[in-house]
Amino acid sequence: MAMLADLINSTLVFSAALIFAALGGVFSERSGVFNIGLEGMMTGGAFAAAIGTYYMQDAGGEGASPWIGVLCGIAAGTLFALLHAYATVSVKADQTIVGVVINILALAITLYLVKFMFEGAGDTPLLDATFAKVAIPGLADIPFIGQALFNNYPTTYLAYVLVPLSAYLLFRTPFGLRLRAVGEHPGAADTVGINVTKYRYVGVLISGALAGLGGATIVLTTTSNFSHNTISGQGFIAIAALIFGRWNPYGVFGAAFFFGLAQALRNFITQFDFAAHIPNEFLYMLPYVLTLLVLAGVVGSVRGPSAAGQPYDPSKR
């Protein structure tokens, strides 16, 4: 039982980043903009978080350092999202291609900056001031559940909060209604006076902020530094979680938990003797294979927001 609690615990560590990025995807796609660039926005966030925390800990920031890192990560993700929003909403460029560009640019720019800042090094120095696990007083003492759910990094608790908050925002507020209207039928939304451009910008920017937060989470809880393979496909897995979770925050939470489990299993399985017979490569492959199987098998054909992927052209209303 204790082992299972540990497995859930480390699953939630990996899931947190996916939850943030996938929630970001929900806001963007609900507003009608595909965001293949989540990967790049996470990369930007991871880089900025590593740099922000590094300089803050140098300046004697102590416990505040990782939080500064988180803020830097959110800012960097939002910055890349601004580029995405400008190109896809204002210039009406192809959303998929712009997303791919964001991924290429984010990786190139961050590695360029790492080499520039650390004299040609391929990765940032290891951070001392990353997040530590915090046991929530009272709740952490509950047998099994305490260890599984309430003895984790602050970012995981943030994920617990952001899921219902996003659901509330999307389905219980006028803002959410308008955002979804813009993604389902921008022409109709425009007719009743909703500013399509504004809502799409907001949707994409929120997605960038959340993806940046996701990237920061990976650096500050898992890798402790930033290098070329810090993100390695997490952004795309987040998109899969978004589809698997049917564009719904609670669904996203479940899907991200599932993909987080695939990553946690990679480490968990090494405790057992039989793990020695499984080649490493298969363990590395696991999250990607599961993603593919889930998308191909369980989901079948799901329907996303109807207007996602199409630039809004008022003249064709």
Binding site: A93, V98, G233, P279, G297
Partner: protein, 367 residues
């Protein structure tokens, strides 16, 4: 002659040219911000590429895989499929060719063609898998292809480590001499640059791309699906099998890129666990070339020059090679966001149109 010039003046030819210019300017700005001298860096790039016959040969070598992946991506785009998985198809093609090159022993006239064929087919099947998932399981091809890229990478590493790489090594032994597709005399002529059949087969594929798409019934179906899948379905074209066929052929192009990398250039394969990213360059090249084979060829030449030259920038001007990725990313950004460029060019084009009108009326008066 004037017709030729006017075709250059079409916005379609102008947009990529301006995009390249803007991309290079973006790279220059990033270099300036980093405290590097962009003029010196671009100078170093040009010197590196056109310095000696060896460098020209090696540049051709850099162009080859990008040409193949560019053709792969462009071909799929014609059917409205975004093949972001050329990377994985390239790796699978390469791995298959390595296996045939090492494990099977045959006379040269059979061995090399067999290795090419098997590599090409395996790349094609990897692509077809993506097409199947799109056609019959409704999985967005971008997501499935990205997953298949990672799976291909780890699968290839596993297979190489398990069956070909000796204990404690990171790369496979060399392929049999009979499977080699290097051209010895040409290498000698080019100052020892590694010359092989890849670039020449690549040029043949440029022609094949055109014939397949514009001179066959299948190609017609494929383009019809790309224009409007619903209309194509209504007209009796089987859209699902078209997706699979398209991705099969697309994957074959990408697979060939991997095949020549091992049979022509390196003669061994590294089990590295990292991809070389040719698939992503292919996307850039296809977009830049407007998914037309000749455009893709020019795009591949440009990107090959940039990529090979980046080593010179790093060596002479100390600029990190990532700068070239930034330039490439910016170029695709501007091609995709051509709205920006047409906005920028509007005053210029309007003036030209006004001049033309003025000229026409002057002619009219003279007549």
């Amino acid at each position: 002659m004037s017709k030729w010039i006017s075709s250059l003046n079409q916005p379609t030819a102008l947009v990529p040219a301006v995009a390249i210019l803007l991309g290079l300017i973006c790279g220059g700005i990033v270099m300036l911000l980093g405290g590097f001298d962009p003029i010196a860096a671009y100078g170093a790039l040009i010197r590196k590429v056109f310095g000696t016959s060896y460098d020209i040969g090696e540049t051709m070598l850099t162009i080859t895989p990008i040409l193949f992946t560019g053709l792969a991506v462009g071909f799929a785009f014609r059917a409205g499929v975004f093949n972001i998985g050329a990377d994985g198809q390239y790796i699978i093609g390469m791995t298959a060719a390595t296996f045939v090159g090492i494990k099977i022993h045959l006379p040269a006239f059979l061995h090399a063609p067999l290795a090419v064929l098997v590599g090409m087919l395996c790349g094609g099947l990897w692509g077809a898998l993506c097409g199947y998932l799109k056609a019959y399981r409704g999985v967005h091809e971008v997501i499935s292809a990205i997953m298949l890229n990672w799976i291909a990478l780890y699968l290839s590493t596993f297979l190489l480590m398990k069956f070909l790489v000796a204990e404690g090594q990171q790369k496979t032994p060399n392929i049999d001499e009979t499977a080699s597709l290097s051209i010895g005399w040409l290498s000698k002529a080019m100052g020892g640059a590694r010359m092989d059949w890849g670039i020449w087969i690549g040029l043949i594929c440029v022609g094949l791309f055109y014939i397949l798409l514009w001179r066959t019934k299948q190609g017609y179906d494929l383009r019809a699906v790309g224009f409007n899948a619903d209309a194509a379905r209504a007209a009796g074209i089987n859209v699902k099998t078209t997706f699979i066929k398209t991705m099969m052929i697309s994957g074959m192009f990408a697979g060939l890129g991997g095949v020549f990398s091992v049979l022509g250039v390196f003669h061994y394969q590294v089990a590295s666990g990292a991809s070389e990213g040719y698939g992503f360059d292919g996307i850039a090249v296809a977009l830049l070339g407007g998914n037309h084979p000749v455009g893709i060829l020019f795009g591949a030449i440009l990107f090959g020059v940039l990529t090979y030259g980046s080593a010179g920038m790093n060596f002479d001007a100390n600029v990190p090679t990532e700068i070239v990725r930034i330039v490439i990313g910016s170029i695709i950004f501007f091609v995709a966001s051509h709205g920006i460029i047409t906005k920028l060019l509007k005053p210029l084009l309007n003036r030209r149109a006004a001049n033309k009108r003025k000229g026409a009326s002057a002619d009219g008066n003279a007549g």
